[in-house]
Amino acid sequence: MNRKTILLLLSVFLSVSLFAANVTVSGYLTDKRTGETLISGSVYDYVSGKGAISNVYGFYSLTLPQGRHDLRYTYVGYQMENRPVFLTKDTTIHIYLEPSNELQEVTILGSSRQEFGVLGAQMGAVDVPVTQIKAVPAMFGETDVIKALQLLPGVQGGTEGSAGLYVRGGGPDENLLLLDGVPVYNVNHMGGFFSVFNADALKNVTLYKGNFPARFGGRLSSVVDIRMNDGNAREFHGNVSIGAISSKINLEGPIIKDKTTFNLSYRRTYADLILQPILLYYAKKEGDGGNYQAGYYFYDLNAKISHKISDQDKLFLSVYSGDDVIYAKIKDEYHWGGSRHSDQTSLDWNWGNVITALRWNHVVNSKLFMNTTAAFTRYRFDMTIGEEQIYNEAGTEIQTDMKVGYNSGIRDYSWRTEFDYTPLPGHDVKFGANYIYHTFRPGVSVAKFSTNIVNNTNIDTTFGDKNVYANEFMLYAEDNLSLGSFLKANVGLNYSLFNVQGVTYQALEPRISARLLLTDQLSFKAGLAGMSQFIHLLSNSNLSLPTDLWVPVTKRIVPMNSWQYSAGLFYNLNNWADLSVEGYYKSMNNLIEYKDGAGFLGSNTGWEDKVSMGRGWAYGLEFLAQRTVGKTTGWLAYTWSKAMRQFDRPGQVINNGKPFHAKYDRRHDISLTLNHRFTDRFELAGTWVYCTGNNGTLAYQQYQMPEIPDYFAYWGSNTIDHISERNNYRLPAYHRMDLSFSFHKQKKHGMRTWNISFYNAYNRLNPFLVYQGYSKDQFVYNEQTHTLDNKKALIQVSIFPIIPSISYTYKF
């Protein structure tokens, strides 16, 4: 045995000894009163300077050298807990944190500095507690997760009132919205004015807009990780809320105390119930004895059951179901000539999501945590228009029944297994795999006709595109590593594969972010992330319509990909406020944009011909100041950004191949969100937003349509509208203030709250769209007709004036 061999063996032995000298302390971090697990809670050892964060299931694991340690468990809004321990072996410590009465008075953004703030390696991410979301004033008093996210820097809403997300120059289909880890495809109700997420059912919302951890993939611009409440494990609680357009109920409690819990939330609008008597009244007033039914409503049902099998195993079953429904039925019945005549016309639109996830948490050992999820998610749009007629012909009662239907949607079955592994102090490794089987239903029409007329042919035909099936697979690994207190980094790799119609695409993407702790209160972070996206949403309405279609990449339309580089400074101002400034540059490739004149209302026929592929780039600077403690909380966000597109590939030219502004390229975006609790009984919240107007396309010039040789124009305009470039017109700036007043009162069995809110409190008429029209009160003399004609003018359409609303909530 030579000297080198001896040295090698010695080093191996020393390594093993070092490993052997480490022990792991692990467990769940939970709310003492409710038993809810706490996400992104912090455990920190003052002796070694090491720390860990509880994962999305509340599990933490911290590997430390054997010996004495001072552990401190913290979670914002809760009393901290100190645990001096002497560790000689792997130890399980479940921590039950007591909500702090003092801190309960405040709502807090960015709950964990360990992960997202000064100390963490992650950047471009914000953790938004649901309490904060609920405090933000909302349209019709409807708390809305997406609209709260729109108030963050780097995130913009789309059209006025819309719940769209445009993150760092990306498009609305580039956001991965996960509900308990399962993708949600249609996140909007009512044309995009409300999101499908009922805040009563939610525990935590985290937005990633850059430097995506390797465990996420499949979208270019953002990941919104939304977690549902498990349900109170100790006591039965609930709340009932009656609002201007909807009512909600939330119930939670133990089925078996400390073992099995449930959480159930339901929300439904009732505009249809109010509309129905009005409709009947007018029908009678008009002397129309017909039977009318018409209306619109949406509902959301969230349900979750969690069951603790043992300290090592937990099962969760979560379900979401939500639909938008438009219906109309007109029945006209009369007798004529001694026979019955009846004509019934009906229309039914029905669209929404169903999401089901079965999850198994398993603590393999104190260092290794496993989560496996089997899930089903489906979005579908069904439309039926029908007419039933009964009439008399030659003494015979004839019945005809005609129906035309249209269905589209997407359905996923998925399997995900993920591991959290803490092998050594300073390492928090996550790795796992994800498989999704997609079924795209791109638009199928059904036509049926039946009658009792003799010798008449009945029709039952289905036509449209066939289902498209695709397999998506992802592997990832990331390590959140600490090299002393100065340097912390998250290094990961994401591999994804997408197989559709005989074509396979693969992508290997590094994800790196690093933090340098310059002082105890100041850190510098930088990172890069590559992302790919294999599906597209076909929609050019800028609203969220049920006819929007998700389609996969094809041979011709290859996956989109992006690279994002970012850097920033993070500063904690004496625990009084957190400040950050982040800059980013994002390049995007294979983006799709609709060709001139292309539209997608309900049909994806030949959609590849309707889009062009090109590139985009976006850059910006984001500033965020947030106050997280005290009676007054909130944040001030400012974003300066630019987003451009260029489509110059042969045959796919848009805007003559020249660069043009993205539709939602807004230079300035400011939002101020404040919440102040004056007393235990009165609370005031307000938001003010200002942003540069959206871009639209206007034809600034007009000229005469020439005669085209060898052609006879039988109809058409005599005028050509000349558009110098796409998105050439900047709409007027958008600004709005929302206010919310909450009056709380402790009652015998719970707390009642009256909330009065004003959306668009100073009644600013913001632009929804503009068009060239005619002035109502300005005229010009027409020399040809010798008349006074209305002067041409630019007309702005606004849709939301001041909207007051009131709601009543009783929480028990």
């Binding site: 229309l347 050019n540 292309a598 049909s603 805007n655 050509i720 558009i723 109502k776 630019l794």
Partner: protein, 337 residues
């Protein structure tokens, strides 16, 4: 379905929307010279010169520029100034041919100088045309029909019996696309009503330009924009196409024609009407193709949320088009039944 979607949107928006006039805060654009020149190889060059107007300016008519100087350059050499005829119309005398570069430079008081250039494409490599009858049918009709007598008389005649004839023709036009270059084509098909008393000069007033053919080649010249499941498909109004699908290959375009005719016992003159089909395969420049395609797309973009269409222009510091084409006549076919 589209109707219902829009109805739903309009109801939603109408419930709460309001309108107001706003100041235009974009770039104020001065009127520009508009060149409309569709030059044909081996023919004199003609052009219309008009002025554009700012979209918020009053008036519905356009100004013809009558005092412009329209300089013609062929292959970079000044040839002549075009002569003003009337209104917006100007004409030259030179006849540039295939392969020549035509450049127009237009100046007029109070306007920026506008100029454009284009190269005449080579003549299409036409190979053959075949005509076949694919089906024919006739039947007796016995319902009242009203029609006008000939010679501009407005007498209405009611006929109660007659014959209905249908003959389906199919024309196969074969040509070869030159390899290694991007080429653009336009198939011109005229249907002319020919009456015994009509002179050949009158044909033009009885012509229909036929389009909307199903041949796959015409897909490249249009964008589908409407809901084809529930509505009619979009049309390729100008029968234009690129060689994207046939690069360097021979291709046969199939043109069906359905000759449908009623013969009435009392309408002798109308019964003598026959049809003539005229085919011409034009090669057109890329600019001309993009211009016609954008006109076509704008006409087809009827959806409320369709992306607005930019009309192509190749005029610098002005608007409009200088487009070139080279004709390849194919033949005339008199139809009978």
């Amino acid at each position: 379905m589209k109707r219902h979607t829009i109805l739903f949107l309009l109801i939603s928006v109408a419930l709460v929307s309001c309108e107001k006039e706003i100041e235009f805060n974009g770039e104020q654009v001065e009127p520009k010279l508009v060149i409309s020149c569709f030059a044909c190889a081996d023919s004199v060059v003609r052009a219309d010169i008009t002025a554009s107007r700012f979209f918020l300016d009053s008036g519905e008519t356009f100004v013809s520029v009558t005092n412009a100087t329209v300089a013609v350059y062929v292959n970079g050499v000044f040839v002549e100034n075009m002569q003003h005829i009337s209104g917006a119309k100007y004409i030259g005398t030179c006849k540039p041919g295939a392969g020549d570069e035509l450049r127009l430079v237009v100046t007029a008081p109070n306007f920026d100088k506008a100029e454009a250039k284009d190269v005449f494409p080579r003549k299409a490599n036409f190979l053959s045309i075949d005509s076949t009858i694919t089906a024919g049918d006739s039947s007796v009709i016995s319902y009242p029909v009203e029609y006008y007598t000939h010679n501009g008389q407005s007498d209405i005649v009611y006929d109660t019996t007659g014959w209905e004839y249908t003959v389906n023709y199919e024309y196969k036009i074969r040509f070869k696309d030159p390899p290694g270059e991007r080429n653009y084509y336009r198939l011109v098909v005229f249907e002319t009503m020919v009456y015994p008393w009509m002179s050949e000069q009158d044909y033009i007033y009885n012509r229909n330009f036929l389009n909307g053919f199903d041949d796959l080649i015409f897909q490249s010249g249009k964008e589908s924009s409407m809901n084809e499941m529930f509505e009619e498909g979009t049309s390729n109004a100008y029968n234009i196409f690129s060689d994207d699908l046939i690069e360097g290959e021979s291709y046969t375009i199939t043109i069906p024609y359905r000759y449908h005719k009623y013969v009435y016992k009392d309408a002798v003159s109308q019964n003598n009407e026959s049809r003539m089909l005229t085919f011409e395969l034009q090669t057109i420049s890329e600019s001309y193709y993009l211009y016609l395609k954008s006109l076509n797309d704008q006409n087809n973009a009827t959806e409320f949320f369709s992306e607005p269409v930019q009309i192509f222009t190749n005029v610098e510091k002005g608007l409009g088009l200088l487009g070139t084409r080279t004709k390849q006549p194919i033949g005339n076919f008199i139809l009978s039944y």
